[in-house]
């Protein structure tokens, strides 16, 4: 199910600084993420991984620098948030939640057609949630919620897919199934950027990695990035970072580390 917008990328990030309350969470990030690439974003807690994704999806405005999407508009981006951002107590069925993925197709008022319902059913089947259509989202386990989020992302049919910790706190079977889906998107030439914690998963499945610690420590082939030296440096950088620091004045032409 490739859409017209699937020819996303590359994404050019230039000297990007993003933060909260005027205090930068990531700064001077320059990256080039290739079209159709499968990239893991890793780094210690508080390294700014989610901030980078929120910047890419347009939820946080850059304080400095810019992001350019070559060949993809806003409508070509699918974003899978962390589970904590979702109100799971809301009285909504699984099928209605997943149907949110049709938003760009049906918008505010559009009717859900029979073809749309078939798409939703296909997406649910693809994540192994057939039969869960009428279940309330409050009754799902963490792994099932993650499957549901993937079904919605699948329906969005976007060229650029951003996943924020999609494999955290779920069982190994679910993680394996969802990794298969990520690989399927990669096979369909979609650009996938995923925040991950488990370095073994990254080494096993992700060809490219960005190591982040408020700024880019390394970016490239996963084996070259995830060295003991880089990981130690990332940890030290995060520990040394001052959360209340103001935006620093560093020229934009300085290359990322």
């Amino acid at each position: 199910m490739r859409g017209d917008t699937a020819m996303a990328g590359p994404i050019e990030i230039e000297n990007l600084t993003i933060g909260y309350d005027r205090h930068p969470a990531i700064h001077h990030v320059s990256l080039m993420i290739g079209r159709g690439s499968l990239t893991a974003v890793v780094g210690p807690n508080g390294a700014g991984k989610s901030t980078l994704l929120k910047g890419l999806v347009g939820r946080l405005r850059p304080m400095e620098g810019r992001i350019r999407f070559r060949g993809v508009g806003d409508d070509g981006i699918a974003y899978l948030p962390q589970q904590a951002d979702i109100d799971r107590q809301f009285p909504l069925s699984v099928i209605d939640f997943v149907a949110m993925g049709l938003w760009r197709r049906i918008g505010l008022f559009g009717a859900v057609t029979r073809a749309d319902r078939a798409r939703v059913a296909d997406a649910l089947a693809a994540v192994g949630l057939s039969g869960f259509e009428r279940r309330g989202i409050a009754t799902l386990s963490g792994g099932q919620v993650q499957r549901m989020l993937f079904a919605r992302t699948l329906l969005q049919d976007a060229g650029l897919i951003l996943l924020d910790e999609p494999l955290t706190a779920i069982d190994t079977k679910t993680a394996a199934d969802l990794l298969d889906l990520i690989r399927r998107w990669h096979g369909e030439q979609r650009t996938v950027v995923t925040v991950l914690h488990d370095l073994d998963q990254v080494r096993g499945h992700f060809p490219e990695t960005v190591l982040l610690a408020r700024e880019v420590i390394a970016h490239g082939a996963t084996a070259d990035v995830l060295t003991a030296r880089n990981l130690l440096r990332a940890r030290q950088m995060c520990e040394a970072f001052d959360d209340r620091a103001e935006v620093c004045d560093r020229s934009s032409d300085r290359p990322a580390a």
Binding site: G58, Y79, P81, F90, P91, W103, L108
Partner: protein, 289 residues
Amino acid sequence: MIWDLVIDPFVAFGFMRRALVGCLAIALGGTPVGVFLVLRRMSLTGDAIAHAILPGAAVGYLVAGLSVGAMTVGGLVAGLTVGLLAGFVTRATVLREDASLAGFYLTSLALGVLLVSMRGGSVDLMHVLLGNVLALDDQAMVLLAGIATVTLVALAVAYRPLVVDSVDPEYLRTVSRTGARVHYLLLTLAVINLVAGFHALGTLMAVGIMIVPATAARFWHRDLAGILVMAVAIAVAASLTGLLLSFHFGLPSGPAIILCAGGAFVLSLAVGPHGSLLARRVHRRHLRA
């Protein structure tokens, strides 16, 4: 017997019919808004806005007496100002929305009480605080019906983004620019329905018919459509019962209506089929077996 107790008061007395129609209008418009407030964990926001309306209504009252128009405009201006200011302060400073709303509404409430005390007597204050559903005039009836209509149309139009914004606001903001607007729309609907409500039930009780049936309905249905219908049904039943109790026993009508809704709430949380005390007990026994 049933005719005498239930039907006759409405057949015999025009003010009872008007009161019932007014309450139905408030139930149809205000209660669905209340359901969304409750589901978005903004139950107390309704309460805060209801208090914030007071100085506006008081100014209208002091300027033009018991004029529906003046009190409505005053209430709307005060309610919207406090709602929007609180939203702005939340985005512009470190304060969370509940705290900034509390700051503004308490200030607003004090101003309202001050104004009424300076210029009017305690009877005036009681009128603004408690309303009088048995004295709704034509103008007030048209206003209540109009606000109910506008609210239902607005909810129908914004239903989809409202639901998405309640469950996964981050998602809505990535696929559409309606996110923040939906929040302000809901606040605006809350304000106009509270203004409608205070004509009948007063600023203190108006929020009751909005929120109490919504909290009760959660125990009866798992899906949003069911909760919405149930909440309106509870609000209508409470209005009818409250009005009859007030008629037969000479009770003040506003508090009687909200007390009936409160009774439905207590009953629902005790024996409702979903998540009530009884339902949880049965569920635990089932798990043990």
